[in-house]
Protein backbone atom coordinates (compact mmCIF):
# COMPACT_ATOMS: atom_id res chain seq x y z
CA UNK A 1 0.00 0.00 0.00
CA UNK A 2 2.89 2.32 0.82
CA UNK A 3 4.36 1.90 -2.65
CA UNK A 4 1.03 2.70 -4.17
CA UNK A 5 0.85 5.89 -2.12
CA UNK A 6 4.34 6.81 -3.28
CA UNK A 7 3.38 6.21 -6.89
CA UNK A 8 0.34 8.34 -6.40
CA UNK A 9 2.48 11.12 -4.94
CA UNK A 10 4.88 10.94 -7.87
CA UNK A 11 2.07 11.05 -10.39
CA UNK A 12 0.49 13.95 -8.55
CA UNK A 13 3.78 15.88 -8.51
CA UNK A 14 4.40 15.23 -12.21
CA UNK A 15 0.89 16.27 -13.06
CA UNK A 16 1.75 19.78 -11.99
CA UNK A 17 2.14 19.78 -8.22
CA UNK A 18 -1.44 19.17 -7.12
CA UNK A 19 -0.38 19.22 -3.48
CA UNK A 20 0.62 22.82 -3.72
CA UNK A 21 -3.04 23.49 -4.16
CA UNK A 22 -4.26 24.64 -0.73
CA UNK A 23 -7.61 22.86 -0.94
CA UNK A 24 -5.99 19.51 -1.76
CA UNK A 25 -3.52 19.91 1.09
CA UNK A 26 -6.34 20.70 3.51
CA UNK A 27 -8.26 17.64 2.33
CA UNK A 28 -5.16 15.53 2.89
CA UNK A 29 -4.78 16.98 6.39
CA UNK A 30 -8.34 16.02 7.32
CA UNK A 31 -7.88 12.58 5.83
CA UNK A 32 -4.70 11.91 7.79
CA UNK A 33 -6.28 13.19 11.00
CA UNK A 34 -9.21 10.82 10.45
CA UNK A 35 -6.79 7.95 9.89
CA UNK A 36 -5.06 8.74 13.18
CA UNK A 37 -8.35 8.98 14.99
CA UNK A 38 -9.44 5.64 13.54
CA UNK A 39 -6.25 3.97 14.73
CA UNK A 40 -6.66 5.40 18.23
CA UNK A 41 -10.29 4.30 18.36
CA UNK A 42 -9.35 0.76 17.40
CA UNK A 43 -7.46 0.24 20.66
CA UNK A 44 -9.86 2.18 22.85
CA UNK A 45 -12.87 0.49 21.27
CA UNK A 46 -11.66 -3.02 21.88
CA UNK A 47 -10.73 -2.14 25.46
CA UNK A 48 -14.14 -0.54 25.97
CA UNK A 49 -15.95 -3.59 24.63
CA UNK A 50 -13.84 -5.77 26.91
CA UNK A 51 -14.72 -3.66 29.92
CA UNK A 52 -18.41 -3.63 28.95
CA UNK A 53 -18.45 -7.40 28.66
CA UNK A 54 -17.46 -7.58 32.33
CA UNK A 55 -19.68 -4.77 33.57
CA UNK A 56 -22.65 -3.32 31.68
CA UNK A 57 -22.53 -0.08 33.66
CA UNK A 58 -19.40 0.90 31.78
CA UNK A 59 -21.33 1.38 28.53
CA UNK A 60 -21.57 5.19 28.75
CA UNK A 61 -17.96 5.63 29.85
CA UNK A 62 -16.80 3.29 27.12
CA UNK A 63 -18.77 5.12 24.48
CA UNK A 64 -17.43 8.52 25.51
CA UNK A 65 -13.84 7.35 25.64
CA UNK A 66 -14.18 5.58 22.31
CA UNK A 67 -15.32 8.68 20.41
CA UNK A 68 -12.92 11.05 22.17
CA UNK A 69 -10.22 10.80 19.45
CA UNK A 70 -12.88 11.96 17.01
CA UNK A 71 -12.18 15.52 18.27
CA UNK A 72 -8.92 15.50 16.38
CA UNK A 73 -10.84 15.21 13.11
CA UNK A 74 -13.02 18.16 14.09
CA UNK A 75 -9.89 20.21 14.85
CA UNK A 76 -8.46 19.21 11.48
CA UNK A 77 -11.68 20.32 9.88
CA UNK A 78 -10.92 23.86 11.07
CA UNK A 79 -8.08 23.86 8.54
CA UNK A 80 -10.60 23.46 5.74
CA UNK A 81 -12.35 26.67 6.75
CA UNK A 82 -9.26 28.84 7.13
CA UNK A 83 -7.54 28.02 3.82
Amino acid sequence: MLEATNELGNVALQAGGTLTDANAAAALAVGLAALGAGYAERGIGSAAVGAMAEDDDLFVNGLILTVLPETIVILALVVVFIV
Partner: protein, 348 residues
Protein backbone atom coordinates in the same frame (compact mmCIF):
# COMPACT_ATOMS: atom_id res chain seq x y z
CA UNK B 1 -8.41 -19.31 20.66
CA UNK B 2 -5.75 -19.24 18.04
CA UNK B 3 -2.23 -18.10 17.40
CA UNK B 4 -2.98 -16.44 14.07
CA UNK B 5 -3.73 -12.80 13.42
CA UNK B 6 -2.51 -9.74 15.26
CA UNK B 7 -2.59 -9.67 19.01
CA UNK B 8 -5.34 -7.86 20.91
CA UNK B 9 -3.94 -6.91 24.30
CA UNK B 10 -6.38 -3.99 24.74
CA UNK B 11 -9.42 -6.22 24.88
CA UNK B 12 -7.94 -8.89 27.10
CA UNK B 13 -6.35 -6.37 29.47
CA UNK B 14 -9.65 -4.51 29.90
CA UNK B 15 -11.51 -7.70 30.79
CA UNK B 16 -8.75 -8.97 33.05
CA UNK B 17 -8.54 -5.66 34.92
CA UNK B 18 -12.25 -5.78 35.61
CA UNK B 19 -11.90 -9.31 36.98
CA UNK B 20 -8.92 -8.34 39.04
CA UNK B 21 -11.12 -5.90 40.89
CA UNK B 22 -13.29 -8.75 42.15
CA UNK B 23 -10.42 -10.73 43.68
CA UNK B 24 -10.49 -11.03 47.46
CA UNK B 25 -8.65 -8.38 49.44
CA UNK B 26 -7.27 -8.24 52.98
CA UNK B 27 -10.72 -7.64 54.39
CA UNK B 28 -12.23 -10.76 52.83
CA UNK B 29 -9.30 -12.93 53.89
CA UNK B 30 -9.67 -11.72 57.45
CA UNK B 31 -13.34 -12.70 57.36
CA UNK B 32 -12.59 -16.06 55.75
CA UNK B 33 -10.05 -17.05 58.40
CA UNK B 34 -12.81 -16.72 61.01
CA UNK B 35 -15.29 -18.97 59.20
CA UNK B 36 -15.86 -22.70 59.14
CA UNK B 37 -15.73 -24.68 55.86
CA UNK B 38 -19.50 -24.46 55.29
CA UNK B 39 -19.48 -20.71 55.83
CA UNK B 40 -16.55 -20.31 53.46
CA UNK B 41 -18.51 -22.18 50.80
CA UNK B 42 -21.49 -19.88 51.36
CA UNK B 43 -19.26 -16.81 51.24
CA UNK B 44 -17.79 -18.01 47.95
CA UNK B 45 -21.25 -18.67 46.58
CA UNK B 46 -22.03 -14.96 46.91
CA UNK B 47 -18.86 -13.90 45.09
CA UNK B 48 -17.45 -14.76 41.68
CA UNK B 49 -17.33 -18.45 42.60
CA UNK B 50 -21.12 -18.74 42.78
CA UNK B 51 -21.66 -20.69 39.57
CA UNK B 52 -18.97 -23.22 40.45
CA UNK B 53 -20.22 -23.83 43.97
CA UNK B 54 -23.75 -24.35 42.66
CA UNK B 55 -22.63 -26.71 39.90
CA UNK B 56 -20.64 -28.92 42.27
CA UNK B 57 -22.73 -28.49 45.40
CA UNK B 58 -24.89 -31.55 44.79
CA UNK B 59 -21.96 -33.92 44.36
CA UNK B 60 -19.45 -32.73 46.92
CA UNK B 61 -19.51 -31.12 50.33
CA UNK B 62 -17.30 -29.46 52.90
CA UNK B 63 -13.70 -28.72 52.07
CA UNK B 64 -13.78 -30.91 48.97
CA UNK B 65 -16.51 -28.73 47.52
CA UNK B 66 -14.39 -25.62 48.11
CA UNK B 67 -11.35 -27.23 46.59
CA UNK B 68 -13.11 -28.46 43.44
CA UNK B 69 -14.97 -25.19 43.00
CA UNK B 70 -11.66 -23.34 43.21
CA UNK B 71 -10.09 -25.61 40.60
CA UNK B 72 -13.10 -25.30 38.32
CA UNK B 73 -13.20 -21.54 38.59
CA UNK B 74 -9.46 -21.24 37.97
CA UNK B 75 -9.72 -23.46 34.89
CA UNK B 76 -12.67 -21.51 33.52
CA UNK B 77 -11.08 -18.11 34.01
CA UNK B 78 -7.81 -19.13 32.39
CA UNK B 79 -9.62 -20.85 29.54
CA UNK B 80 -11.50 -17.60 28.98
CA UNK B 81 -8.26 -15.66 28.79
CA UNK B 82 -6.90 -18.07 26.20
CA UNK B 83 -10.19 -17.81 24.30
CA UNK B 84 -9.98 -14.04 24.11
CA UNK B 85 -6.37 -13.71 23.11
CA UNK B 86 -5.15 -13.86 19.58
CA UNK B 87 -1.85 -13.86 17.78
CA UNK B 88 1.41 -13.51 19.65
CA UNK B 89 -0.50 -12.68 22.83
CA UNK B 90 -2.04 -16.16 22.77
CA UNK B 91 1.38 -17.72 22.41
CA UNK B 92 2.79 -15.77 25.36
CA UNK B 93 -0.08 -16.65 27.67
CA UNK B 94 -0.31 -20.28 26.56
CA UNK B 95 3.35 -20.71 27.41
CA UNK B 96 2.64 -20.07 31.05
CA UNK B 97 -0.71 -21.86 31.22
CA UNK B 98 0.81 -25.02 29.79
CA UNK B 99 1.98 -25.69 33.30
CA UNK B 100 -1.54 -26.90 33.99
CA UNK B 101 -1.21 -29.33 31.11
CA UNK B 102 2.00 -30.57 32.68
CA UNK B 103 0.20 -30.87 36.01
CA UNK B 104 -2.65 -32.81 34.39
CA UNK B 105 -0.30 -35.19 32.61
CA UNK B 106 1.54 -35.87 35.86
CA UNK B 107 -1.71 -36.38 37.73
CA UNK B 108 -2.97 -38.87 35.16
CA UNK B 109 0.31 -40.75 35.14
CA UNK B 110 0.32 -40.95 38.92
CA UNK B 111 -3.31 -42.03 38.90
CA UNK B 112 -2.68 -44.80 36.41
CA UNK B 113 0.39 -45.88 38.34
CA UNK B 114 -1.52 -46.19 41.61
CA UNK B 115 -4.60 -47.71 39.92
CA UNK B 116 -6.78 -44.83 41.06
CA UNK B 117 -10.42 -44.56 40.12
CA UNK B 118 -11.10 -42.58 36.93
CA UNK B 119 -13.44 -40.13 38.65
CA UNK B 120 -10.93 -39.67 41.45
CA UNK B 121 -8.32 -38.60 38.91
CA UNK B 122 -10.80 -36.41 37.08
CA UNK B 123 -11.59 -34.15 40.05
CA UNK B 124 -7.90 -33.45 40.56
CA UNK B 125 -7.36 -32.19 37.04
CA UNK B 126 -7.24 -28.45 36.37
CA UNK B 127 -8.48 -27.92 32.85
CA UNK B 128 -6.80 -24.57 32.39
CA UNK B 129 -4.15 -25.46 29.87
CA UNK B 130 -4.18 -25.98 26.14
CA UNK B 131 -5.50 -29.56 26.10
CA UNK B 132 -9.10 -29.69 24.96
CA UNK B 133 -11.80 -31.80 26.59
CA UNK B 134 -11.44 -34.57 24.04
CA UNK B 135 -7.77 -35.11 24.79
CA UNK B 136 -8.42 -34.99 28.52
CA UNK B 137 -11.13 -37.62 28.16
CA UNK B 138 -8.79 -39.83 26.20
CA UNK B 139 -6.14 -39.31 28.87
CA UNK B 140 -8.61 -40.34 31.56
CA UNK B 141 -9.66 -43.42 29.61
CA UNK B 142 -6.06 -44.58 29.23
CA UNK B 143 -5.57 -47.68 31.36
CA UNK B 144 -1.80 -47.95 31.18
CA UNK B 145 1.09 -45.51 31.13
CA UNK B 146 1.90 -46.71 27.63
CA UNK B 147 -1.58 -45.60 26.55
CA UNK B 148 -1.09 -42.20 28.21
CA UNK B 149 2.13 -41.72 26.29
CA UNK B 150 0.31 -42.66 23.08
CA UNK B 151 -2.44 -40.08 23.64
CA UNK B 152 0.21 -37.40 24.04
CA UNK B 153 2.14 -38.49 20.95
CA UNK B 154 1.37 -35.36 18.91
CA UNK B 155 1.95 -32.85 21.74
CA UNK B 156 5.18 -31.33 22.97
CA UNK B 157 5.31 -34.04 25.62
CA UNK B 158 5.26 -36.88 23.07
CA UNK B 159 8.93 -37.41 22.32
CA UNK B 160 10.35 -36.75 25.80
CA UNK B 161 7.77 -39.10 27.34
CA UNK B 162 8.51 -41.82 24.80
CA UNK B 163 12.20 -41.63 25.73
CA UNK B 164 11.48 -41.57 29.45
CA UNK B 165 9.10 -44.51 29.12
CA UNK B 166 11.98 -46.86 28.37
CA UNK B 167 13.68 -45.73 31.55
CA UNK B 168 10.44 -46.11 33.47
CA UNK B 169 10.08 -49.70 32.32
CA UNK B 170 13.56 -50.47 33.62
CA UNK B 171 13.28 -48.80 37.01
CA UNK B 172 9.50 -48.83 37.62
CA UNK B 173 9.66 -45.35 39.20
CA UNK B 174 7.76 -42.30 37.99
CA UNK B 175 10.64 -39.85 38.40
CA UNK B 176 11.94 -40.09 34.80
CA UNK B 177 8.44 -39.56 33.39
CA UNK B 178 7.69 -36.59 35.63
CA UNK B 179 11.06 -35.02 34.91
CA UNK B 180 10.43 -35.46 31.18
CA UNK B 181 7.10 -33.62 31.44
CA UNK B 182 8.59 -30.79 33.50
CA UNK B 183 11.53 -30.41 31.20
CA UNK B 184 9.36 -30.34 28.08
CA UNK B 185 7.31 -27.59 29.71
CA UNK B 186 10.26 -25.47 30.77
CA UNK B 187 12.00 -25.85 27.42
CA UNK B 188 9.00 -24.45 25.62
CA UNK B 189 8.50 -21.77 28.25
CA UNK B 190 11.62 -19.80 27.44
CA UNK B 191 12.38 -20.62 23.83
CA UNK B 192 11.84 -18.11 21.05
CA UNK B 193 10.44 -15.24 23.09
CA UNK B 194 10.32 -12.00 21.16
CA UNK B 195 12.45 -8.97 21.81
CA UNK B 196 9.87 -6.32 22.65
CA UNK B 197 10.32 -4.57 25.99
CA UNK B 198 7.21 -6.00 27.73
CA UNK B 199 8.17 -9.46 26.54
CA UNK B 200 11.63 -9.02 28.01
CA UNK B 201 10.10 -8.21 31.37
CA UNK B 202 7.87 -11.25 31.08
CA UNK B 203 10.96 -13.31 30.31
CA UNK B 204 12.74 -11.89 33.37
CA UNK B 205 9.76 -12.96 35.45
CA UNK B 206 9.82 -16.48 34.00
CA UNK B 207 13.55 -16.74 34.66
CA UNK B 208 13.04 -15.63 38.25
CA UNK B 209 10.45 -18.36 38.65
CA UNK B 210 12.85 -20.98 37.29
CA UNK B 211 15.55 -19.67 39.62
CA UNK B 212 13.27 -19.93 42.64
CA UNK B 213 12.22 -23.43 41.65
CA UNK B 214 15.86 -24.45 41.39
CA UNK B 215 16.72 -22.76 44.69
CA UNK B 216 13.85 -24.48 46.51
CA UNK B 217 14.78 -27.86 45.08
CA UNK B 218 18.42 -27.36 46.03
CA UNK B 219 17.52 -26.29 49.55
CA UNK B 220 15.30 -29.33 49.99
CA UNK B 221 18.02 -31.64 48.75
CA UNK B 222 20.67 -29.97 50.89
CA UNK B 223 18.54 -30.24 54.01
CA UNK B 224 17.40 -33.81 53.48
CA UNK B 225 20.98 -34.92 52.88
CA UNK B 226 19.60 -37.61 50.59
CA UNK B 227 21.93 -39.19 48.13
CA UNK B 228 20.20 -37.88 45.01
CA UNK B 229 22.02 -36.30 42.11
CA UNK B 230 20.90 -32.63 42.24
CA UNK B 231 21.77 -32.17 38.57
CA UNK B 232 18.90 -34.51 37.65
CA UNK B 233 16.44 -31.98 39.09
CA UNK B 234 18.05 -28.97 37.47
CA UNK B 235 15.77 -26.86 35.28
CA UNK B 236 17.38 -24.99 32.41
CA UNK B 237 16.72 -21.33 31.76
CA UNK B 238 17.42 -19.63 35.07
CA UNK B 239 20.16 -17.11 35.67
CA UNK B 240 21.11 -17.96 39.22
CA UNK B 241 22.41 -21.51 38.84
CA UNK B 242 24.16 -23.59 36.27
CA UNK B 243 23.91 -27.34 36.34
CA UNK B 244 27.38 -27.64 37.91
CA UNK B 245 27.00 -24.88 40.47
CA UNK B 246 23.67 -26.32 41.61
CA UNK B 247 25.16 -29.79 41.99
CA UNK B 248 28.04 -28.36 44.04
CA UNK B 249 25.94 -26.04 46.22
CA UNK B 250 23.25 -28.60 46.99
CA UNK B 251 25.79 -30.52 49.04
CA UNK B 252 26.32 -27.71 51.51
CA UNK B 253 23.40 -25.83 53.04
CA UNK B 254 25.41 -22.91 54.47
CA UNK B 255 27.15 -22.23 51.19
CA UNK B 256 23.87 -22.40 49.32
CA UNK B 257 22.14 -19.93 51.66
CA UNK B 258 25.08 -17.57 51.35
CA UNK B 259 25.03 -17.87 47.56
CA UNK B 260 21.33 -17.01 47.32
CA UNK B 261 21.81 -14.16 49.81
CA UNK B 262 24.52 -12.62 47.62
CA UNK B 263 22.53 -12.96 44.38
CA UNK B 264 20.23 -10.38 42.80
CA UNK B 265 17.35 -11.84 44.80
CA UNK B 266 19.17 -11.34 48.11
CA UNK B 267 17.25 -8.21 49.02
CA UNK B 268 13.81 -9.80 48.63
CA UNK B 269 14.67 -13.17 50.11
CA UNK B 270 17.09 -11.97 52.80
CA UNK B 271 14.70 -12.07 55.79
CA UNK B 272 13.40 -15.49 54.77
CA UNK B 273 16.94 -16.81 54.44
CA UNK B 274 17.82 -15.63 57.95
CA UNK B 275 14.71 -17.34 59.25
CA UNK B 276 15.74 -20.46 57.39
CA UNK B 277 19.09 -20.44 59.19
CA UNK B 278 17.54 -19.81 62.60
CA UNK B 279 14.34 -21.82 62.58
CA UNK B 280 15.40 -24.40 60.04
CA UNK B 281 12.07 -24.03 58.27
CA UNK B 282 11.71 -24.15 54.51
CA UNK B 283 8.12 -22.92 54.57
CA UNK B 284 9.18 -19.33 55.20
CA UNK B 285 11.54 -19.50 52.26
CA UNK B 286 8.88 -20.87 49.94
CA UNK B 287 6.47 -18.17 51.04
CA UNK B 288 9.13 -15.54 50.48
CA UNK B 289 9.73 -16.73 46.91
CA UNK B 290 5.98 -16.71 46.27
CA UNK B 291 5.60 -13.23 47.71
CA UNK B 292 8.59 -11.98 45.71
CA UNK B 293 7.10 -13.36 42.50
CA UNK B 294 3.71 -11.87 43.28
CA UNK B 295 5.18 -8.46 44.09
CA UNK B 296 7.16 -8.59 40.87
CA UNK B 297 3.99 -9.55 39.00
CA UNK B 298 2.13 -6.57 40.47
CA UNK B 299 4.92 -4.26 39.36
CA UNK B 300 4.91 -5.85 35.92
CA UNK B 301 1.28 -4.98 35.38
CA UNK B 302 1.75 -1.25 35.77
CA UNK B 303 4.81 -0.49 33.66
CA UNK B 304 3.38 -1.54 30.30
CA UNK B 305 -0.38 -1.24 30.65
CA UNK B 306 -1.21 -2.49 27.17
CA UNK B 307 0.85 -5.64 26.80
CA UNK B 308 1.00 -9.20 28.03
CA UNK B 309 2.27 -8.24 31.48
CA UNK B 310 -0.99 -7.11 33.18
CA UNK B 311 -2.57 -10.38 32.03
CA UNK B 312 0.23 -12.44 33.54
CA UNK B 313 -0.04 -10.34 36.66
CA UNK B 314 -3.73 -11.23 36.94
CA UNK B 315 -3.06 -14.92 36.32
CA UNK B 316 -0.57 -14.89 39.19
CA UNK B 317 -2.91 -13.03 41.52
CA UNK B 318 -5.74 -15.43 40.73
CA UNK B 319 -3.57 -18.47 41.32
CA UNK B 320 -2.47 -17.00 44.62
CA UNK B 321 -6.06 -16.33 45.65
CA UNK B 322 -7.05 -19.91 44.91
CA UNK B 323 -4.10 -21.19 46.94
CA UNK B 324 -4.91 -18.87 49.83
CA UNK B 325 -8.55 -19.92 50.01
CA UNK B 326 -7.50 -23.55 49.82
CA UNK B 327 -5.03 -22.99 52.66
CA UNK B 328 -7.75 -21.38 54.76
CA UNK B 329 -10.23 -24.18 54.11
CA UNK B 330 -7.70 -26.93 54.76
CA UNK B 331 -6.42 -25.13 57.84
CA UNK B 332 -9.94 -24.83 59.22
CA UNK B 333 -10.57 -28.49 58.53
CA UNK B 334 -7.44 -29.37 60.50
CA UNK B 335 -8.57 -27.07 63.33
CA UNK B 336 -5.73 -24.57 63.15
CA UNK B 337 -6.24 -21.21 64.94
CA UNK B 338 -6.99 -18.15 62.81
CA UNK B 339 -3.67 -16.38 63.36
CA UNK B 340 -1.70 -19.44 62.33
CA UNK B 341 -3.73 -19.74 59.12
CA UNK B 342 -3.14 -16.06 58.46
CA UNK B 343 0.61 -16.61 58.65
CA UNK B 344 0.25 -19.26 55.93
CA UNK B 345 -1.33 -16.85 53.48
CA UNK B 346 0.62 -14.94 50.87
CA UNK B 347 -0.92 -11.50 50.51
CA UNK B 348 0.84 -8.50 49.06
Amino acid sequence: MSAVGSSNPEYVVARVRARRGSLYGDEEYRKLTRMGPAEIARFMEESSYGADINALGSRHGGVDLIEYALNRNLAEQFDDILDWSEGSLYDLIARYLRKFDAWNVKTVIRGVYTDADQSAIEVDLIRAGEFDDRRIRRLLEADSIDAVVEVLEDTIYGDPLREAYAEYEETDTLVPLENAVDRAFYERLLSGLGNAEPTRQYEAFLRAEVDFRNATNALRLARSGADIDPAAYFIEGGELFTRDSLARLARNLDELVEYIGDSQYGEELGPALRELEEADSLIAFEHATDAALLAYGDRLGTIHPVSVTPIISYILAKEREVENIRAIARGKEAGLPADQIESELVIT
